[in-house]
């Protein structure tokens, strides 16, 4: 299926000129809410909108390309500085961007989960400014033609929704740290070029608590669909908050933006502090000036970064290297159908299968955050395995009381699947989908049908379902070489840059190894072997 298509026509030139027109602010209409008097600031209404930057949970960066070796991968916090940097990330002359389709898929997933309208056509802009942590002197973003528009997020409390303005893809910057002792700035390019989703809300929140609830709910949603770790402590989720206050019945006040808040607590404290600052100004007859502010965590108050007049002219320009991103309806539906269940849906389903509310909640707590891996790969968690058990019993016309699998055995089986000790199955060449745990399913079936009292680990060995360990890499290499030999045309195509064909080779290796090799390892190894040859 043609999932992410480059525009076939005059791609690089055909910007819709309309898109380039300056847009009059991103924010939509001010929404009237029922008056709820806040004891902290009686008579005042608080209006809050939030921009969330969430790092996309993909193995690779947004534009660094498939051909780069491991350097182009998204980093983990414990990586040594400047070790995950491709030529493109360092903005070396002569490099060009290649869009990572996995990032698109995860952003589309998120947009769908937010009930947003995924745009069939979106485009990339360059936002310019000079800063040591911005290697190319511009950030590639989607300000004027975002990936998705509209949408809403239902908050957990009070049953109300926050509208979403837009969701856009953009690059993360490098990290700069000031070394006070040596009076130097240190730049770490590991983060440079990682994929971000910027999720812009409408100014629909009316208190610090609602803002906190919004961020928390969004965080849970991102984790559930697997598009981001959403960790504020580790910096994979960051917030810019817009705050304004007005007397009830009056039009909205002048807003100030507070940048880079990295915990939900700080989000709420910063808003409260900003509200008090605005009220103090207004009550003393002064005016609030539109400005960008920072937050001092120790003093729990905001401070001025720059006023509106000082705000830089980002000189937005359509990126001349990146054709517009065209998504077919077919693609969007495919993403929709392959989405992991949202937490609310899972709960409903568990209840419908006869579990008590308490059991469902317990299962969901155990399972939280375990389901989705990098690049949206859906793993097998406790819930899925439990469902397998129920399903297999049902197909044998047996009831749960007939269940021969003990709690201990079931626990070990789940652990084995999640730790990758038993392997999965390669379920499609076109999509390169890896589904860990299908051998786990086989094992489970065996346990039920043979009413076996052996531990799953012992059974797995007997049935030859144990995954290959790192030590067996020579065996994997052998299979890779054999696959290249058996599929010379496909190998040649990959050498010439036709990467989708690589999946055929991966499939062949998986077949040769009866599914015991790790597909990602095989993929990397094949690419290396083919590169060496050419």
């Amino acid at each position: 299926m043609n999932l992410v298509r480059a525009c076939p026509r005059r791609a690089q030139h055909q910007w819709k000129l309309r898109e380039l027109w300056r847009i009059n602010g991103l924010r939509g209409t001010h929404r009237q809410r029922e008056r709820v008097e806040d004891r902290r600031w009686p008579g005042w209404e608080v209006v809050v909108g939030i921009e969330v930057h969430a790092q996309i949970k993909s193995r690779k960066k947004l534009f660094s390309g498939e051909w780069e070796r491991s350097e182009a991968r998204t980093t983990h916090t414990n990586d040594a500085p400047n070790t995950s940097v491709s030529c493109f990330d360092a903005a070396l002359p002569g490099t060009l961007p290649t869009l990572n389709p996995k990032c698109v898929e995860l952003a589309v997933r998120t947009a769908l989960a937010l009930n947003a309208d995924v745009q069939r056509r979106s485009a990339f802009d360059r936002k310019h400014y000079f800063y040591p942590d911005l290697p190319s002197g511009y950030q590639i973003t989607q300000r004027y033609a975002p990936l998705a528009r509209g949408g809403y997020l239902r908050l957990s409390r009070d049953d109300f929704t926050v509208r979403i303005t837009q969701l856009q893809l953009e690059q993360d910057t490098a990290k700069s740290t000031v070394h006070a002792g040596r009076r130097v700035s240190l730049i770490d390019l590991n983060r440079a070029g990682s994929g971000l989703m910027e999720i812009v809300s409408e100014p629909d929140m009316r208190s610090p608590e609602e803002a906190g609830d919004y961020v928390r709910t969004l965080q849970t949603l991102l984790r559930a669909v697997g598009s981001s770790d959403g960790s504020m402590e580790l910096g994979s989720l960051r917030c810019d908050v817009n705050v304004s206050v007005n007397r009830y019945g009056q039009p909205p006040g002048t807003r100030c933006e507070i940048k880079n808040l990295n915990s939900i607590k700080f989000v709420m404290t910063a808003i409260a502090s900003e509200v008090f600052r605005h009220i103090e100004l207004l009550e003393s007859g002064r005016t609030v000036t539109q400005e960008t502010r920072g937050f001092d965590e120790n003093k729990a108050e905001t401070f001025k970064l720059r006023s509106k007049e000082d705000s830089p002219d980002y000189r937005y320009m359509p990126d001349p290297n990146l054709p517009p991103l065209l998504l077919s309806q077919e693609y969007i539906e495919h993403v929709r159908s392959s989405m992991p269940e949202l937490p609310s849906e899972t709960r409903v389903r568990l209840l419908s299968m006869g579990l008590s509310e308490r059991d469902a909640d317990v299962l969901m707590t155990i399972d939280a955050g375990r389901e989705v891996g990098f690049d949206g790969e859906i793993g097998k968690g406790a819930i899925a395995m439990t469902q397998d058990l129920l399903g297999q019993l049902a197909s044998r016309k047996e009831t749960f009381s007939d269940n021969p699998v003990s709690v201990e055995h079931m626990g070990e089986l789940i652990d084995m699947v999640q730790s990758g000790k038993v392997t999965g199955e390669f379920i499609g060449v076109s999509q390169y989908l890896w589904c860990p745990g299908t051998s786990g399913k086989t094992l489970l079936r065996h346990m039920i049908s043979h009413r076996s009292l052996d531990y799953p680990s012992k059974l797995a060995k007997e049935l030859g379902l144990i995954a290959l360990s790192q030590d067996d890499s020579s065996l994997v290499k052998e299979w890779c070489l054999e696959a290249i030999k058996e599929l010379p045309q496909q190998a040649e195509a990959v050498r010439k840059g036709n990467l989708p064909v690589l999946n055929r080779l991966v499939g062949k290796v998986m077949k040769l190894g009866r599914g015991r090799a790790n597909a990602e390892t095989v993929r990397t190894l094949l690419l290396e072997l083919l590169r060496e040859e050419s």
């Binding site: 480059a6 076939p8 026509r9 005059r10 791609a11 690089q12 030139h13 910007w15 000129l17 380039l20 027109w21 300056r22 390309g65 498939e66 051909w67 030529c87 360092a90 903005a91 070396l92 002359p93 002569g94 490099t95 060009l96 961007p97 290649t98 869009l99 360059r126 310019h128 000079f130 800063y131 040591p132 290697p135 190319s136 002197g137 511009y138 009076r183 700035s185 730049i187 390019l189 002219d313 000189r315 937005y316 320009m317 001349p320 290297n321 990146l322 054709p323 010439k496 840059g497 036709n498 990467l499 050419s534």
Partner: protein
């Protein structure tokens, strides 16, 4: 003339510092190249590799590569002080393809800084001297020969071909940078359709216009190199897809049987050639018009149908080109901030070392030449919020007009469009002079000539581009073929321009002109 193999890598001529493995394998060969290069300053570094390691369609061919195309074994300076010491960790896709096909990379060629210029004066390596005269009047002492420009920005590529240093050279063409020097130096120069040759590893000047071009003494060699490097590359996001390439096949083959026939006399029956009226500005040297007339007469005698056509948007192309190219350049060159690579100057008094903006400003002021700075400033202005609509957007609109104008002229459909409606009475190719004049004189004090002088006033440097810029804006293939001499005895080129994807057709017509004239 067969080029001599080169056996060492060293920077030429100003910076003769040897790099790591600069061992002289065959000194006589390298001194040959140096002797050939000495008077013309076409090369900036010479390869140490032994030639012809591979077997392939380009076996035996020696090729020079413009210094803004990345090579991992030779420096890539872009003729800029900013990248004077820069060596890329990777080879450009074109370079890899050349090597895979068995070609020998001779060295890197001088050019205008980052490709910005039409005279090859804006270079830290100094100006390139047009070798043309050196060939014809070898008995005249060098001091008395007329020193003329090789054109720019790929001046070193054109000069190294003309001087016989290599069989072919790669250049880059953003607004005429291959065709103009080809015309001035009397060689063939092809700017292919946009997106046909990979730009991975080509240092960006203006991404939406940049094309890798090929220069050689004959159309057939250009074609040979073109066939080896015009391959889809997934690393170039603007590359024409294999699909699209397939679609251009019938356009090219429609006329190929006729031009490819070996029957003499060659018949051009059925070929429709258009002469665009707008390409004869008052600044055009009349002797060039005479040369063009002679070419047209021969083509007509060979059976081609000649018609005059009109491309009205041409008059606005120069302004549109300089807005778009400068805007993109201001963006693309922002990466040269001296943080990760490139020249870092000692901070001057008054500057704050801890202030990154000072570090950027001083390094960029010292590392980038006057012309480059001028264009960055222009482009930065064109992209500011206040100027954007009137400059950048307006220029994009003109660009669309130019394309539409061309689509109304060619009888071949533009395969990039969903529903092309080519006119039935349209032409196969356009033909016009490549330049408004022959090679201009170089200033006597060439080293101080940045920014213009009496012989080459600043503005005419831009004016020249009117002949080459329309094809760049529309992304069309254009080939400059040497066809004779102007009144001053210096080479004159004509340009053959075709519909997008009609590169082979353009080369076929070029070959016919080569044989007839």
């Amino acid at each position: 003339m067969r080029p001599k193999p080169v056996a060492h890598f060293r920077r030429l001529p100003r910076n003769s510092r040897k790099t790591s493995s600069s061992v002289l394998h065959t000194p006589s060969d390298s001194s040959d190249v140096e002797a050939l290069n000495a008077g013309i300053n076409a090369l900036t570094s010479v390869s140490s590799e032994r030639r012809s390691r591979g077997h392939g369609q380009l076996q035996g061919l020696s090729i020079a590569v413009k210094d803004n195309i990345c090579t991992s074994s030779l420096p890539t300076t872009c003729s800029s002080a900013m990248l004077h010491q820069y060596q890329s960790p990777f080879n450009a896709t074109v370079v890899r393809l050349l090597r895979d096909a068995g070609a020998h990379i001779v060295g890197k060629t001088n050019c205008d800084e980052f490709g910005m210029g039409s005279l090859n004066l804006n270079s830290i390596h100094g100006a390139v001297v047009n070798p043309f005269q050196a060939q014809t009047t070898s008995n005249v002492p060098p001091t008395q020969t007329e020193r003329r420009s090789a054109g720019g920005s790929s001046g070193g590529s054109a000069a190294s071909v003309a001087a016989g240093i290599c069989d072919a050279a790669l250049g880059t063409d953003t607004g005429g940078s291959v065709r103009l020097p080809a015309s001035y130096c009397g060689v063939v120069g092809l700017k292919p359709s946009y997106g046909i040759i990979s730009r991975w590893g080509v240092v960006s000047f203006a991404d939406s216009l940049d094309c890798v071009g090929i220069l050689s003494k004959s159309v057939s060699t250009v074609k040979r190199v073109f066939d080896a490097v015009a391959v889809y590359d997934p690393r170039d996001p603007t590359a024409a897809t294999p699909d699209l390439r397939e679609k251009t096949r019938p356009l090219n083959s429609s006329f190929l049987p006729v031009t490819a026939s070996t029957h003499q006399p060659r018949s051009l029956e059925g070929l429709r050639i258009g002469v665009p009226l707008e390409y004869f500005p008052s600044e055009l040297d009349p002797s060039l018009v005479n040369v063009l007339r002679a070419v047209l007469r021969r083509l007509g005698e060979a059976g081609a149908t000649l018609t005059s056509v009109t491309v009205p948007a041409t008059q606005y192309t120069l302004s549109a080109y300089y807005v778009i190219a400068s805007a993109e350049a201001s963006s693309n060159l922002a990466r040269f901030d001296s943080v990760r690579y490139g020249l870092r100057t000692a901070t001057l008094p008054g500057a704050t070392i801890s202030k990154s903006s000072d570090v950027f400003a001083y390094s960029r002021s010292a590392g980038l030449g006057k012309e480059v700075q001028k264009r960055i400033l222009l482009g930065t202005y064109a992209l500011t919020a206040d100027a954007f609509d009137n400059y950048f957007l307006q220029a994009q609109r003109i660009r669309l007009h130019v394309r539409r104008d061309f689509d109304r002229v060619f009888r071949h459909p533009c395969v990039l469009l969903a529903e092309p409606h080519p006119p039935r009475d349209g032409v196969d190719v356009l033909l016009h002079p490549s330049a408004i004049r022959t090679a201009p004189l170089l200033d006597r004090g060439e080293h101080g000539s940045r920014g213009g002088d009496k012989a080459v006033p600043g503005l005419s440097e831009y004016l020249q581009d009117i002949m080459t810029v329309p094809a760049s804006l529309a992304g069309l293939p254009a080939l400059s073929v040497p066809v004779g001499k102007g009144a001053d005895g210096w080479p004159v080129g004509v340009s053959v321009v075709g519909q997008w994807g009609c590169d082979d057709l353009v080369m076929c017509v070029g070959k016919a002109i080569e044989e007839l004239c």
